[in-house]
């Protein structure tokens, strides 16, 4: 976009909200990592917000990283050292998964970092929209409630297996079983972000990234998360929506067959290059933000579910892990989702939005009906 109609003041409310998401304490050292695709105005707004909290900011800019499931991306040494030295890292990214995964892991585990990831596409608008003002406290509680539902009854040690089922009118009906130890959250487990954790700005998700079994079909409304998708409409975003024709993943014993038009062909090519385990179900997840824009941030949107095949880098469950250098996504706007037959999404709406405890906390920030009302786009 050539014309930028925004001023710093337009971006500051969202930038301040970022500070709430990482809970900055006065005097902390904060590194803002902005790749070369992030508009400078956005970087300045974040810098100003960090400064307002009495922290010591430094901005670090490099070229964008590779996608996390492609191995071997290493940042320059200065980038690493800056990250390790910080108390808090804020990552402004054009594509969500474009990180240096090894460095990030070391930073959090060995160097006590708290991290906030802010995927923005390359648009300034993203920060002027309502989704970017969603209160941390509400998002944390919503996420925790869902996480508790998805892990309910699990113990350590213990080998409880739970069942997740997704059904939608478009032909989707997928049932999978999972070890709840591998349920994933993004830094929203506690009212406070702890060293070693990262969270996603206004974009909590809850998901599973390892399955014992998966059978059935999922039919997508859109795809996301690949650099190649930026060329497809909407241009410049890694989201592809709408699709020229539906893309279907048909699972049998965890492995899937991909059907659809030219978008499906793109996925097939990615998967074909990924080795023997590239077609295994590797993720079912949902978003929790009712205001997240469906076109550009579908995976953050409450009640939207997303799915991946391949595997997830960084952690291996056991020595026999099935590893694939692929983790490719599709998403479904509206479905019903059950965990062990308990409803989690009912006709596209998160059941937890009607939880009395959640509504009580939401009331601190305004009318809960308004806060949980789904944005129309």
């Amino acid at each position: 976009m050539d014309v930028n109609p925004y001023r710093l003041l337009d971006l500051l409310p969202a930038a301040r909200n970022m500070m709430d998401y990482c809970q900055l304490q006065r005097g902390e050292h904060v590194a803002i990592f902005a790749d070369t695709l992030i508009p400078p105005l956005v970087v300045q707004a974040v810098l100003a917000a960090v400064e307002e909290r009495g922290c010591r900011p430094a901005i670090v800019t490099t070229q964008p990283a590779g996608l996390s499931w492609r191995q071997g991306a290493e940042p320059p040494r200065a980038y690493k050292a800056a990250m390790y030295a910080s108390d808090v890292v804020i990552q402004l990214k054009s594509v969500e998964a474009q990180t240096f995964p090894r460095v990030q892991e070391t930073a959090m585990i060995e160097h006590d970092i708290r991290m906030l990831r802010v995927p923005l596409g390359n648009s300034i608008e993203a920060l002027t929209e309502e989704w970017a003002l969603f209160p941390f406290e509400v998002m944390q509680l919503v996420t925790r409630k869902i996480y508790d539902q998805w892990t309910e009854g699990a113990t350590t040690p213990g080998d409880v297996v739970k069942t997740i089922r997704v059904q939608a009118d478009n032909g989707t009906d997928l049932t999978a079983t999972y070890d709840p130890h591998y349920v994933i959250h993004t830094g929203f487990l506690f009212p406070k972000l702890m060293p070693g954790q990262w969270n996603q700005f206004c974009g909590a998700t809850v998901g599973i990234e390892l399955f014992k079994d998966a059978n059935g079909t999922v039919v997508f409304d859109g795809l996301h998360g690949e650099e190649e998708y930026k060329l497809l409409p909407p241009a410049g975003s890694d989201v592809v929506h709408p699709l020229s024709e539906p893309v279907r993943w048909i699972f049998e014993d965890r492995h899937c067959r991909i059907e659809g038009g030219f978008e499906a062909e793109l996925i097939r090519r990615l998967v074909a290059a990924g080795g023997a385990h590239a077609d295994i179900l590797a993720e079912i997840a949902l978003g929790v933000n009712p205001k997240a824009p469906l076109n550009t941030m579908p995976t953050r949107r409450s009640g939207v579910t997303h799915y991946a095949v391949g595997s997830t880098t960084g952690r291996t469950p056991n020595p026999e892990k099935e590893s694939a250098e692929v983790h490719t996504h599709g998403h479904l706007f509206k479905c019903n989702l059950w965990v062990d037959d308990e409803p989690c999404i009912v006709d596209g709406r998160l059941a937890v939005f009607d939880d009395p405890e959640v509504r009580k906390v939401a009331a601190k920030y305004g009318d809960p009906d308004k806060l949980f009302e789904e944005a129309p786009y």
Partner: protein, 129 residues
């Protein structure tokens, strides 16, 4: 004969709590950590209100919000406890296997890593410059 792993961990935690930073760090969470030794004797530590209790065997089952399980071979745990390898590298090199999704227990990973390091008398890496 080499010292059993649970004793090594116990000593590391004792040394850690002999420092102010160690005591503060230990207070950070209440959590049980199971160390599942794939080719040896498993052990666990229960940390409650800043008190650490290391025992042999597996802990009794806890809700997963309160407990974590880390799997690996005996020699890998030794390498880590001896300060010869970093936990994050062992995960990356697929020699140690935290039984959790890659985000879920990272704060606990960071916590035990920090406690082990304090027990080894190593400064936090931030201060090395």
């Amino acid at each position: 004969m080499s010292q059993p792993l649970h004793e090594i961990l116990d000593e590391l935690l004792r040394k850690a709590v002999s420092t102010v930073e160690g005591r503060e760090t230990l207070m950070r969470y209440n959590h049980t950590l199971n160390f599942e030794v794939l080719n040896g004797d498993s052990f666990h530590v229960e940390i409650i209100d800043g008190e650490a209790d290391v025992q042999t065997g597996a802990s009794s089952p806890r809700p997963i919000a309160e407990a974590h399980n880390i799997k690996g071979n005996e020699e890998v745990f030794r390498t880590w406890f001896a300060g010869e390898a970093r936990f994050s590298d062992l995960i990356h090199d697929q020699r140690i296997y935290p039984q959790a999704a890659h985000t879920t227990k990272r704060h606990i990973d960071n916590w035990i890593v920090k406690l082990v390091r304090l027990g080894q008398g190593k400064p936090s890496l931030k201060d090395e410059y």
